[in-house]
């Protein structure tokens, strides 16, 4: 009987299994389709769009199409050929007439300061297309900048359709005239510092949250249910208030004439106010307060699952409380520390409104600059590139964390 089942019925059995499984999988898929669609349109498509914008380079190619084509063959070593000058003159005249020159001017102005003026000036001065062979003389006559390689390599570099200009700029780097990647001049290098500041604040907030949250999570996990539920309400209370309200409340509390400074002066501890807000201290206080629950909750869920028997076992085996804590309890909370830390850190490096409200000029994080480029200067390319760098840093962290957690996963001593 066994042989018959094993040989004769093997293939149909497998097929039947697949068919049965397929129905089940289709049903399951049907249930998650709405969510998948939602994620696709609200998450993947916008993020993809953002990533595309960080490399998309269409402005110059649209306004100066003939020039871009003419510069294809230019090696960048000397000035371009007469044909390129003629193409540029023709492009500028047409673009001026179409009023499409401004977008290209704005794009080229990122690369070379003053490009906008150069283009509009040239557009105004070029009354008619220069005669054949005289385009170069005409253009350099309008502005000697047309006789410089940098002016031309800017157009070639921005010719599209894709560019690494924004991504490099987001990392304080650029291409020099020879096309190799170099560091940007010091006075233009700000983003590396801002990324460092962002990660620094993120790390600081994460550590503060861990130090403050660990004992709270421990209390939550070890108190009797009645007190523990009460404490949990206090932990969750901030979630019921808007982020903006909480941040503004900190302004009220921390300002020079605020409750804390007034209280300290009333107690005679201070005679003049301590600056607690619109600086790094304020950013740390407000962000830690906002992000604390994200540290406490994962820690709590992990601690709740650690049986008190482990600490008792450690004590019975001769470990003093401190040793038992460090060698037995703490290692078992590591998944919670990792999850909470990662959550808080990732949320923290994306913070915008809190540092904007309670921080000073030197405390703004990368999101502030993303917002600045999106809404103030409408430099979407750079805004997207900064966002892309932030996104990749976050992804790298998530992957590293995933590997670490996977490597140390245990099923625990108790069999279920």
């Amino acid at each position: 009987m066994a042989a018959f089942v094993a040989t004769g019925a093997e293939i149909p059995l497998k097929r039947r299994l697949r068919r049965a499984e397929r129905t089940r999988q289709l049903k399951a898929l049907g249930l998650v389709v709405p969510l998948l669609a939602f994620l696709l349109f609200t998450f993947l498509v916008p993020i993809g769009g953002m990533l595309w914008r960080s490399v998309d380079d269409w402005e110059v190619g649209k306004a100066l199409p003939q020039t871009v084509v003419a510069l294809k063959a230019w090696d960048g070593k000397d000035l371009p050929s007469e044909a390129a000058y003629a193409a540029l003159a023709s492009d500028i005249r047409r673009a001026t007439a179409d009023r499409t020159l401004a977008v290209a001017a704005k794009r080229l102005n990122y690369v070379v300061n003053g490009y906008r003026t150069l283009l509009t000036k040239t557009g105004r001065a070029l009354k008619e297309q220069p005669a054949a062979g005289e385009a170069k003389a005409a253009l350099t006559g309008i502005d000697p900048a047309w006789g410089e390689r940098a002016t031309w390599s800017a157009i070639k570099g921005a010719g599209g359709p894709v560019t690494d200009y924004y991504l490099l700029a987001a990392l304080d780097m650029q291409r020099n005239l020879d096309g190799s990647i170099v560091s940007a001049p010091e006075e233009q290098s700000i983003y590396q510092g801002i990324f460092l500041r962002t990660f620094g604040i993120g790390l600081g907030v994460t550590l503060t949250c861990l130090i403050l949250g660990f004992p709270v999570a421990y209390l939550l996990a070890s108190l009797p249910p009645k007190q523990s539920n009460m404490l949990m309400i206090f932990v969750l209370l901030p979630f019921w208030t808007s982020l903006l309200v909480r941040t503004c409340a900190w302004i009220v509390l921390l300002q020079d004439q605020g409750l804390i400074n007034d209280g300290l002066r009333w107690l005679g501890i201070l005679d003049h106010p301590v600056r607690l807000i619109f600086n790094r201290t304020g950013v740390f206080i407000a962000m830690t307060h906002v992000l604390l629950p994200f540290m406490i909750l994962p820690l709590y869920s992990v601690m709740k699952a650690i049986s008190p028997a482990y600490m008792r076992a450690a004590a019975s085996l001769g470990a003093p409380p401190a040793v038992a804590f460090v060698r037995i309890y703490l290692p078992q909370t590591l998944p919670g520390i990792g999850a909470g830390g990662l959550l808080v850190f990732i949320l923290a490096i994306g913070y915008y409104i809190t540092p904007a409200l309670v921080g000073g000029a030197g405390d703004q994080m990368i999101s502030y600059f993303i917002a600045f480029y999106t809404t103030e200067t409408v430099n979407w390319g750079l805004a997207s590139a900064l966002g892309a760098v932030l996104l990749s840093a976050t992804l790298v962290l998530a992957v590293v964390y995933g590997k670490l957690v996977h490597g140390t996963a245990t099923t625990g001593g108790v069999k279920n």
Binding site: A309, R312, S316, G318, Q332, T411
Partner: protein, 370 residues
């Protein structure tokens, strides 16, 4: 130090004196506990859940503080000694093996917190591993072991630092029956070969009977009886112990008189039986007479086995159990009076058949009314 002191120290390892414990200030979980445990002894605390046996163990381990009374370990009161300084090994109900450490690291933990030299740690760990025959699994995590293997590691970990006393809190509760019986023998064997003192908590009476030198039967926060396993079974001192240990039949009645240690008891239905007077003081008291199922005979025809106690009974049904059969009868007001019959003696005992049962007065014990 004089000779008497040395003797006391040598014989008694643990002494509970008037120990009481309450959690809420209203109910005593342990009412009054006096208990001496000798060095090298295997003592089991046996009782239903909530009887105070685990609390007693936890007080000895140092995880609970007695509300009243004193516990002396090795001649030293341990009220102010924290658990980690008591030098007591403990095996927990769910083993409590550290999940983030390998078997080896678990076993080395008590040695490393004692700052033992590394090579001695190694030697001891490998000796412990060979004792539990798990050398090949030294690098595994507890989560990768079966229940029985985890149990053995927990046992080895509690023994590896050579404590003077090992406590076990229902250590076999999570294992299946066959493995449990196997581990009982293994623990017993380790106890005998190491000569270590063991205090064992269980609610399983057969486990207690198999393993222990002495058993303390707990109920309601009080030790009901502490004795060797056979004495506990053969000579229970009260109804609780008689019912808790093994199968038991109870007949309820009133003492008519007591003569030479034998009580004459008039049952509620009018019959009279003679039983050893154990838990009764004087005539007129209510009593419950305890008789073990295997001490009862069913008389055939006019046979007289020389027993003074004869009672009419009606067969209810018979449960066949292979090596023996259990016949359930109605005797006096007890409708579940069990008789253990071996060797096919249950043949012909059809339901409804009136029979006569008989038992010796020394096999019947007049105890406190249950």
């Amino acid at each position: 130090m004089d000779g008497g002191m040395v003797d006391t120290k040598k014989d008694t390892l643990v002494r509970f004196t008037g120990v009481q414990k309450t959690y809420d200030g209203e109910h005593l979980v342990v009412k009054s506990l006096d208990l001496d445990i000798k060095r090298g002894e295997f003592v089991t605390l046996l009782g239903p859940s909530g009887s105070g046996k685990t609390t007693t163990l936890m007080m000895l381990a140092g995880f609970e503080v007695p509300t009243h009374g004193e516990i002396v370990l090795d001649g030293r009161p341990i009220k102010n000694v924290p658990p980690h300084q008591r030098d007591i090994g403990m095996v927990f109900q769910n083993y409590a093996l550290f999940p983030h450490m390998t078997v080896e690291e678990n076993l080395a933990f008590p040695l490393s917190v004692r700052k033992m030299p590394k090579d001695e740690q190694k030697a001891r760990v490998s000796r412990a591993l060979s004792m539990i025959k798990l050398e090949s699994l030294a690098k595994r995590r507890p989560g990768q072991l079966s229940g029985g293997q985890q149990q053995r590691v927990a046992l080895a970990r509690a023994l590896v630092f050579s404590p003077q006393l090992v406590l076990m809190d229902e250590p076999l509760g999570a294992l299946d029956k066959r493995l449990r019986e196997h581990m009982q023998l293994e623990i017993k064997q380790i106890h005998e070969s190491t000569g270590i003192t063991v205090v064992y908590v269980t609610h399983d009476q057969s486990e207690a009977l198999t393993m222990s030198d002495r058993i303390a039967v707990f109920n309601d926060g009080i030790i009901q009886q502490i004795d060797k396993p056979d004495a506990l079974y053969e000579r229970p001192v009260n109804s609780f112990v008689a019912n808790f240990i093994g199968e038991n039949n109870m007949l309820h009645g009133t003492v008519e008189n007591i003569e030479q240690g034998l009580a004459s008891v008039r049952l509620a239905t009018g019959e009279q039986v003679v039983a050893s007077a154990v838990g009764v003081g004087q005539a007129g008291e209510r009593t419950s007479v305890s008789i073990r199922p295997e001490r009862v005979h069913i008389l055939k025809g006019n046979e007289d086995a020389g027993h003074p106690n004869h009672l009419p009974a009606t067969v209810q049904h018979t449960i066949y159990l292979g090596d023996h059969a259990l016949t359930v009868l109605t005797v006096a007001d007890n409708e579940e009076f069990m008789v253990k019959l071996s060797g096919g003696n249950h043949a012909g005992l059809t339901p409804g058949l009136p029979v006569t049962i008989a038992f010796r007065p020394e096999d019947a014990r007049a105890l406190d009314p249950a």
